[in-house]
């Protein structure tokens, strides 16, 4: 365990980087996922087709392949940015398919009469979604969305494995293989780091669920 105590600052920094990846990827994936969900329920066929194609691609492609493409494919096209940016975007795009489906199933749980009433009052598609459907869908969106987010936090390790560098996973790898530290304590340290993020995230999720359950 000495390795954890001696290098705690490395682990802390790793935790910070992982948190950063999750925060940026989380925000981006919420925006993209909501937009794609909007496409999937839009009255225009091309938008629906686009949404369906998006979900089909990202839900059925392994995350490692998406990240591989971001790490090597995009730079090969001559677009340059740090892998932190590419990795975070790749994670967000992959997750957006699942975010979309969580939101879409919530939308479908709202009675179709609500949308008909909104449209017959003269609200446009976007207004109907934003003012009438989504506020009622939130309650059934939160639980699956929370699971998607927690899965994303864990998946950020895969982005780390592609070499974002400095995140929890990368710290673990470097400590155990490059610096030859004992593997078990290092891995325990890394696991602890993820739990420090995911357990409070789960608690927050439970709190929000209870909150939206009473609000009405």
């Amino acid at each position: 365990m000495q390795v954890l105590i001696d290098n705690y600052h490395l682990y802390l920094r790793g935790l910070g980087t992982t948190l950063q990846i999750c925060l940026y990827a989380g925000l981006l994936t919420l925006v993209v996922g909501t937009f794609i969900a909007g496409c999937r329920v839009a009255p225009l066929t091309p938008l629906r087709a686009f949404g369906t194609a998006w979900v089909t691609v990202f839900r059925n492609c392994p995350l490692a392949v998406v990240l591989f493409f971001m790490a090597f494919g995009i730079p090969a096209l001559g677009i340059n940015a740090s892998y932190f940016v590419f990795g975070t975007i790749g994670l967000a795009l992959y997750t957006s398919a699942f975010v979309c489906e969580a939101i879409r199933s919530g939308i479908n749980a709202v009675s179709p009469g609500q949308a008909e009433a909104a449209r017959s009052v003269g609200l446009g598609f976007g207004q109907t979604l934003r003012l009438v459907i989504l506020p009622q869908a939130v309650r059934s969106i939160i639980p699956p969305l929370g699971s998607v987010m927690i899965a994303m936090i864990k998946n950020s390790a895969i982005a780390g494995a592609f070499g974002i560098g400095g995140d929890l996973y990368a710290v673990g790898i470097r400590q155990s293989s490059a610096q030859g530290e004992e593997i078990i304590p290092v891995l325990l340290g890394v696991a602890l780091g993820y739990l420090i993020i995911t357990i409070p995230a789960g608690l927050l999720l439970g709190y929000v669920e209870r909150k939206v359950a009473i609000a009405r």
Binding site: P43, L44, S111, G113, Q114, E116, A117, A118, R119, S120, V121, G122, L123, G124, Q127, L131, V132, P135, Q136, R216
Partner: protein
């Protein structure tokens, strides 16, 4: 802007056909409703009454023919259609009040978001309408806290808040307990007296006799009879109408 002459019908339905898959639900429907006219539509279940109603504000699309409201052909999906729907009030069998909003917010949502009215102005107008339908004291409650009759009156106020040119009612009282039917019919009859153009799908004979100028009897997707309430109820022309009246009168 072209001037719309006063004899342009409020609603014109020309040669409309509508299919659900292979089911032919509206068969070559032709219908003109002049402004100020109150039309009651009745007919057996599945005859296409709701579909006709929903075609008029394009909640259902048609397969052929044309629909025009106040001389304007129904636009394709998009902003223009939303504008047209704002002018066509619709009241549903299941009320469909916005479950997450208070009654007054239900009534003011459209005026604020579509008509761009100020909040205070919308609220004042909304309260006036709630008083008119007799539920001003329920303004801050949520739909689920109201009785069916109160909810339907709120739904009528919500539609009126848009200052519609025409009102469509699809069986507005058939989901209500019997003792609540009249309070809703009263409100509708009041609207009719004020000269609102209305299309009402309803089997309420008392309302039809009192408020309607015209009765349409539908069967199997066709308008089988188009007559005055007196003629229809007292001496229906077709066997199907006689048969139908026999059934609703014994209940």
């Amino acid at each position: 802007m072209t001037e719309v002459s006063t004899d342009t019908p409020m609603i014109r339905v020309s040669a409309v056909d509508k299919y659900f898959g292979s089911l032919h639900v509206l068969k070559d429907i032709n219908l003109e409703i002049p402004r100020g006219q109150v039309v009651v539509v009745l007919g057996p279940s599945g005859s296409g009454k709701s579909t006709l109603c929903r075609v008029l504000n394009r909640l259902e699309t048609i397969d052929s023919g044309a629909v025009a409201v106040d001389g304007v052909p129904l636009p394709e999906e998009g902003r223009a259609l939303a504008e047209l729907r704002a002018d066509v009030g619709m009241v549903f069998q299941q009320f469909n009040l916005f479950a997450h909003k208070s009654i007054i917010d239900n009534v003011t949502l459209g005026p604020i978001k579509v008509r761009k009215l100020g909040k205070d102005e919308a609220r004042e107008e909304g309260m006036r309408l709630l008083r008119r339908v007799g539920i001003a004291d329920q303004a801050e409650k949520y739909p689920a806290q109201l009785s069916g009759g109160q909810q339907q009156r709120a739904a009528i106020a919500r539609a009126l808040a848009m200052r519609p040119k025409v009102m469509l009612f699809d069986e507005p009282t058939s989901a209500l307990d019997p003792e609540m039917v009249n309070e809703v019919l009263e409100v509708m009859a009041g609207l009719a007296d004020e000269g609102m153009t209305m299309l009402v799908v309803s089997h309420e004979m008392g309302f039809a006799r009192r408020a309607a100028h015209r009765v349409l009897f539908m069967a199997d997707g066709e308008v089988v009879e188009d007559s005055s309430p007196e003629t229809f109820f007292d001496s229906p022309g077709s066997e199907r109408a006689k048969d139908f009246l026999g059934k609703i009168l014994t209940h």
